[in-house]
Subunit: 404 residues, 2 copies
């Protein structure tokens, strides 16, 4: 048997295999209403000035600042501009025009007097015919007027490439009249569970059978990492059936993930199918998750995890999660330092990823190392990363923890 690979070595293998997916994402154009959470594939520049036109910052009266310099004084109300008024209006010297927030400031006006600083002394709010308004205080040129282009100029960058579109980006794009935007397409990832012992939840598990947990868990992990599930299916330990399933998966996917069938046993269906197609099965010095495999089948990367649900989840988290996140334009999942609240032991020679639960900066292992402890893992919120050379850690020592 050859020397087991280190976690770092196997991570590099998978990184090389998935590199084209991360660096050359497919793109699509989607309407703004469907673009929330998507990542821009290119810079988006504005084709318009923002604001689109000179407009009022307040409900009030558009005036010439020079005309109200001696306020308080009264001005004839010569017109009324509601928001949405589509005919340009001209203000004549010595008059005021009522204006609503956001409405176009008339030519000739250079200030807006807020309604709070005014009073109609003739006429009514709903009938401005022959009205006169008292302006209580002077305003300087430009006050409460938003100039065209004062937020953004035509040609300026609205949203840079690589931006995960949140509400504020969509608001800016929509304000500039952008209808649709070029975004990265999520990776299409197939999730294949293998094992003659598997039954679907909802069926009856006979003696010796177990429920397939890897399908639903890997599908959720893939989605959490910003990709979509192209195919999710379980398969018995039948090489011919698995070969056909793999071909179906490859046809519709950018990446195929498998669980089970790669260890040293006699019925290793994934090993039997992928090795003749150029795949490589290896042992990684880690716990859980020792057996690992990779292949490039018909140009599509295939990453194979061991079948135990804890091993599968840990393997995905360690080897694939951040690559998918990168491809999706997401930041890497957080890792941080935490302090062990209790000591722990580890098997030297293997990097161990124990399931842990944090409380502030403290962390405690929630179970032993057994990779069958799938219920215990549900109580964890981190993986405790114990380096390969470590045999024991005492309470109070620092460890790296990976967020789950």
């Amino acid at each position: 048997m050859t020397r087991p690979r280190s976690v770092e070595e196997h991570a590099e293998t998978i990184e090389r295999l998935l590199d084209p997916l991360c660096t050359e994402p497919a793109t699509a154009t989607v309407p703004l209403a469907e673009a929330a959470g998507r990542v821009t594939a290119e810079d988006v520049r504005s084709e318009v000035d923002l604001p689109l036109f000179r407009n009022s910052q307040m409900d009030g009266y558009a005036v010439r600042a020079a005309d109200v310099a001696a306020a308080p004084l009264a001005l004839e109300v010569a017109g009324d501009i509601p928001a949405g008024h589509t005919v340009p209006v001209v203000l004549h010297a010595g008059t005021a025009i009522r204006i609503m927030t956001g409405a176009p400031v008339p030519d000739g006006a250079d200030a807006v007097v807020p309604v709070e600083d005014t009073e109609l002394v003739l006429g009514r709010d709903d009938d401005l015919h022959g009205a006169v308004v008292e302006v209580r205080r002077p305003r300087s040129v430009g006050e409460f007027v938003r100039e065209r282009g004062s937020d953004l100029r035509r040609g300026d960058l609205l949203v840079p490439a690589g931006t995960r579109l949140a509400a504020r980006h969509l608001a800016a794009l929509a304000s500039a009249g952008v209808e649709a935007v070029g975004v990265r397409e999520p990776l299409r990832v197939a999730v294949l569970s293998t094992g003659s012992e598997l039954v679907a939840s909802g069926e009856r598990a006979g003696f010796g059978q177990v429920f397939d947990a890897n399908g639903v868990a890997l599908a959720a992990l893939v989605q959490e990492a910003g990709a979509v599930v192209s195919l999710r299916e379980a398969c018995a330990d039948d090489p011919e059936a698995f070969g056909r399933l793999l071909d179906r998966a490859i046809a519709v996917s950018d990446l195929v993930l498998t669980s089970g069938g790669i260890s040293q046993g006699a019925y290793e269906v994934v090993r039997e199918v992928v090795v003749p197609r150029g795949g490589e099965v290896t042992t990684v010095a880690m716990q859980p998750g020792g057996p690992q495999a990779t292949a490039l089948v018909d140009g599509v990367p295939v990453v194979c995890f061991p079948g135990n649900p804890v091993s599968t989840q840990v393997s995905f988290t360690v080897f694939v999660r951040d690559l998918l996140r990168t491809a999706a334009g997401l930041p890497p999942a957080p890792r941080r330092r935490a302090t062990l609240a209790e000591g722990l032991r580890s098997v030297p020679g293997r990097r161990q990823f124990l399931r842990g639960r944090t409380d502030g900066d403290a962390v405690v292992a929630v179970s032993g190392p057994g990779s069958h402890l799938v219920a215990a893992m549900a109580r964890a919120d981190v993986l405790i990363d114990v380096p390969a050379e470590v045999e024991a850690l005492a309470a109070g020592q620092e460890v790296t923890v990976w967020a789950l």
Copy 2:
């Protein structure tokens, strides 16, 4: 005019209005495959032991520990148990049975010898008839045997109520054969934009018209906060049309959000419709976002924001976001302290939420206070919370920032 309300007072008003939505969420039962990201409505207990049966932790040979105490020694291979083997098998003293990881350990066996510590001295991997295996080292009772129920006992808690279901929870539920799970239903939130000046993106904005940004922005904010958009529509400043739209929204929603039509102007459509139906329009001492309104129409809360896209987004973030997150079982959005990289000025008497951009613990305002600066807001990642009484802050002073 009455004294403006403080931000805290208006936040309390909205909190009371939305309280039933947060404390009495609707629930639904969904299949596990659709449950990722949903929040459990109740404790889920296991109806089975996990593991379901005593099984092997390794590929190897099931033996009696007593029989291999004097290893190295050779044992007759009396059988073969692949994973998924559904017929109970009995191990007779002095023999070994080949077993795969996860396969049921035969009655009579109390240890598993990993395949790496064995060698077939008679027979072949693919033909165990009359085979003999050499066991190289002894194993103690229980080694590499996973006992039934060692992960979880029937009746134990699998996943507590209020858990946002991630892959690890789904794996545990699936392993226990759970098919479907009771989860909170997301709140259904209607998003209504008002304003005769609005045109949809894709249409041509004539003079005086602007593109509706609030619809797409509020819809994205609602989804980011864990709710779903029940209806999204824009409406001109026509009280009759808005009244009909409001009724349609109420019929399909747990909450209605509106933008525009609540300030002091002459054409305030939301004000005209909600006040006669018991709504309350108020002025809040904040910038942006002074005009605010709330109503309870036919038992459905209605929260009304001012129409400017920056004001709308800030109002949602300050008053509604964390309430929706609570209802969805999400933690509150983060607020933290940051240090101003540049000084800033503020209007005393109003709590100001300036758009800021952080770099580590430093923050700088990305624009002036103008609520029309929608493109500038796209460059921000936080709101800088400047208390109402503050007139100026110097570089180096600490402020609270709200994550966008």
